[in-house]
Symmetry: C2
Subunit: 138 residues, 2 copies
DNA sequence: ATTAATTTTATAACGAGTACAAAGATAAAA
DNA sequence: TTTTATCTTTGTACTCGTTATAAAATTAAT
């Protein structure tokens, strides 16, 4: 499989020692830009990787976080969600279906760290919530 | 007690039927602008209200939320936090001590709902994270 | 005063996430 | 290659925030 090597190399860029599990998880994140939860990742990979443990998925994503390969979204009260897209963008969560969507093309000023707050700000997270169009009718 | 009546009236403004417990919780929120967790509220009130149940605190804050008297902050991975300040402001959470601080005086444009996203946005939440000055030295 | 409706309370249950220790896999040394 | 050491994965148990539920208590209505 060709992708395996690509993802393998991708992991090395973040100084993450590749393993079968880590490569599978990263591959899933690269191909599924849906801000998945741990459970969604586990459920998706489990069929083709029956020995996979959910603990491994937790460990793997904590490692990816440390290494700066993913960001954790704190937008969903229920679960943590993960995003490999590290570019400046915001998110929308539908209060009904719970799906999280990207919002790109916002003015870069929105992501600037405010000055003179008395805090050393490392991270900015902009989250919108409401109802998505699919849920609108219901 | 004079405050009791004030808080009582405050609750009525949001069409919340006052009770001893609800008044105590709202009074706490009005006086402690620290974005407390359920547990912090419960622990603070419990000594002077020994029969208070933590479930009541949960129920009460869910009611306040429904009635629009408080907003729930989704900034702390561990617990939900609550804020009676409904004005346009952002928050900073210290990754070390976990305290949540207000950030006022940001440009109002930051809180505008982006157009043409395909979602009906009801809410905007801007969250910063990093290390606060008290934790800086450690 | 009785009855009905709300609210509070305690307990149990659920589910996300972590701790831990054993088993398995990989890398290094001999 | 074998042995040894290190790292990774796995399953289980556990913690803790939150919700479900049903009984008890309080408040409102008749």
């Amino acid at each position: 499989m060709n992708n395996y090597l690509q993802t393998h190399r991708y992991l090395l860029q973040f100084a993450i020692k590749p393993s079968v599990q880590r490569t599978a998880v990263m591959d899933y994140l690269l191909k599924n830009r849906t801000h998945p939860t741990i459970d969604e990742i586990y459920s998706a990979l489990s069929p083709s990787m029956p020995t996979l443990s959910k603990t491994t998925v937790y460990n793997t994503l904590n490692l990816f976080l440390e290494k700066g390969a993913v960001q954790q979204l704190v937008i969903d009260e229920k679960n943590a969600r993960y995003d490999i897209d590290m570019s400046l963008h915001a998110h929308f969560i539908c209060k009904q279906c719970g799906k999280v969507h990207d919002i790109f093309n916002l003015k870069p000023e929105l992501f600037e760290k405010p000055e003179n707050t008395g805090f050393s700000i490392q991270n900015v997270e902009i989250s919108y919530s409401g109802i998505c169009n699919s849920c609108k009718g219901n």
